[in-house]
Subunit: 359 residues, 2 copies
DNA sequence: CTTGACATGGCAAACGTTTGCCGTTACAAT
DNA sequence: ATTGTAACGGCAAACGTTTGCCATGTCAAG
């Protein structure tokens, strides 16, 4: 039922070849007048190119696959949006595959992607993984987005966790805190190591002594933040500030402080990491370092398009930095929370602001 | 580079026609022995059908488009997952289009979908909209998912908000509350009207008098819940329970109660709606009615596949019911919060549990 | 022995594009 | 007048499938 190139060409009194060239802006010259005639005719007739047929012929589909390990995650959708917004400008399309870390489904999905002859892939993984899946698609350009693992590899986007942790500790030190405790992530995650390193770096920068008594390892969950903070607050010389490696653990630390009869931030200052929605809704709201998901998505799309169009073999590894968002849990000296602080978490503006790109 | 049907056929010593029929399970008979030979050969040679070519020939792509107005929303990803999980079982694929309610981008996206000759569309919209976009794709099977608008239309999935609100008020009445206030959503949304109706229905059921003094209209945001609750609590005969039409306003109500020196739930019980993550993280955790996004996604996919495969003209409208999740803000008599309550919000199990389907 | 039905398999057209190759014309340079 | 170059346009092949149609062989019923 849809109008084809043949019909369009016949209506314009030209061959399909000419019509095709007029529409695609081919390098082959075509008379400007006829070109315009074809274009306007295409408009009026409502011609829409059959992308399936085009894909079959050109073996390029202007489609990239996005493989994510969980679309139900506070971070993934933002990354996806970053990717899609960037792709859109270049008239690329994306197909999202949600694997849920199920290898069987993943390999089936990859087969599907191959069958659809997508042009490239962005792989959004929160965990490290073997390279098995990658091999299958090795012939296609491939870009990684790693939220919790840093990769020195080329063709990858990751986060400068060290820098982010420095930001947090800097802030606390600047407020005058000298005993700053740290609740880290579990072992085996690069993010845990890097944020710990950032914590240490910042301490050194401020000539503060690193003490193992002020560091505990959590598991990203609220309870672990709660337990760790309770431990710190029972010490003879309790810390005046706690930096947690994510917002959930920071919230746990706040609850523990409150249970101990301490006021946040007057008695204990707390800083989190990630800038999840909860950080803007809790009481007090949580000072935190943003995880620049949107920018990461954009950067990965940019990398992939470079790979596709400039025929470069590989792109550099991109590392993105978050920024500090100061809220009540660290700063505001008055105890009472101005109501205006409870703003919507993610407005379009917010997506882009607060995130800076490096590399 | 990938192995084609021709190569496979030649290797098996048959024609492409036979190979095709062996692989696709065509109705045309093919000798069982040769069929097996072809299948195993396909396996060893790593043959993957070119879905582009197949799509060109058959004009069916086993792909459905998912058009969402915002992928950055606490609800959309869960709906998407419901859709994709269901589609996956039937070897369908999906393409997600994020419109951000930008009509220009939306129409471009729809053109793209047409060009890709997708088989059908699931439209996930949180707001009501004109049918303009729909017309363009009218030739394709189309299913709506409406989270905040109910549609009597066929080919649509929506929520039984009336029922959900009843659930909440029932719960409060059962706990002995007789003055139950209501913070509603803004006008113009079906969800607001339906939840209000449910509130009234439940009151009637319990022989409780409806009073306009106990109802205020919020705007879904935390502040409005805060302001509304403060208003209620200043009344000479303050309510002992507050039902808010979403979790954010419920949280605002909790904050207002706490500011007024009242304990939740001992002095004021609060129930929300939606079961967003915050409801499981706040202090106290919030009793709420689930918005069964995952089930809605599944149901819409089922509807669409019915449309595609059974050649039915239309499917019935499906209405899905949420369930009540009792947490501390309404029930727990003791003031202190057991730490175990702070569990991960969305585990795979959770996706399916707590949601019941009707119709 | 004839006929019809069925199992099996191949030929080739078709799906709607893009593009290499060739032909024609116009025009400038020699 | 001849040649070279560029602009313009058409023909037809190709991309990898699926499928209508036809051909052959087999076998059972008449």
């Amino acid at each position: 039922m849809p109008v084809t190139l043949h019909e369009l060409a016949r209506a314009a009194g030209v061959s399909v070849a000419t019509a095709s060239r007029a529409l695609t802006g081919s390098s082959h010259p075509v008379n400007e007048a006829t070109k315009q005639r074809i274009l306007t005719l295409a408009e009026t007739m409502g011609y829409k190119p059959n992308l399936i047929a085009r894909g079959l012929r050109t073996e390029r589909t202007a489609t990239v696959g996005i493989i994510v390990d969980s679309i139900v995650s506070p971070f993934t959708p933002l990354i996806i949006r970053g990717i899609q917004d960037y792709l859109q400008e270049y008239h690329y399309f994306s197909v999202i595959i949600n694997t849920d870390r199920d290898p069987a489904f993943e390999s089936r999905a990859i087969d599907d992607l191959i069958g659809r002859s997508i042009d490239g892939v962005v792989h959004v993984e929160s965990r490290m993984r073997g390279a098995n899946a990658v091999l299958d698609l090795a012939s296609k350009p491939y870009v990684f987005v790693h939220r919790l693992f840093s990769r020195d590899d080329r063709n990858s986007v990751s986060v400068d966790d060290n820098y982010g942790a420095c930001l947090a500790v800097d802030h606390l030190a600047q407020l005058g805190h000298r005993r700053i405790a740290y609740i880290g992530g579990p072992g085996g995650w690069d993010a845990s190591a890097n944020r710990l390193a950032g914590y240490k770096d910042a301490l050194a920068k401020w000539d503060l002594e690193y003490s193992a008594d002020l560091v505990r390892e959590g598991n990203w969950e609220l309870q672990s933040g709660f337990a760790s903070a309770r431990y710190f607050l029972r010490e003879t010389q309790r810390p005046t500030a706690i930096f947690a490696a994510n917002d959930l653990m920071a919230l746990g630390a706040i609850y523990a402080s409150q249970d101990a009869g301490l006021h946040v931030p007057d008695d204990v200052a707390v800083v989190g990491y990630d800038d999840r929605e909860i950080a803007a809704l809790s009481r007090p709201t949580i000072t935190t370092v943003t995880l620049p998901c949107y920018s990461m998505g954009q950067a990965s799309a940019r990398l992939l398009l470079d790979l596709l169009n400039k025929n470069t073999e590989s792109s550099p590894a991109v590392v993105i930095r978050g920024t500090l968002i100061v809220r009540e849990s660290s700063g505001d000296p008055a105890g009472r929370i101005p109501l205006e602080h409870y703003r919507s978490h993610t407005t379009p503006q917010r997506l882009l602001a607060d995130e800076s790109v490096k590399g």
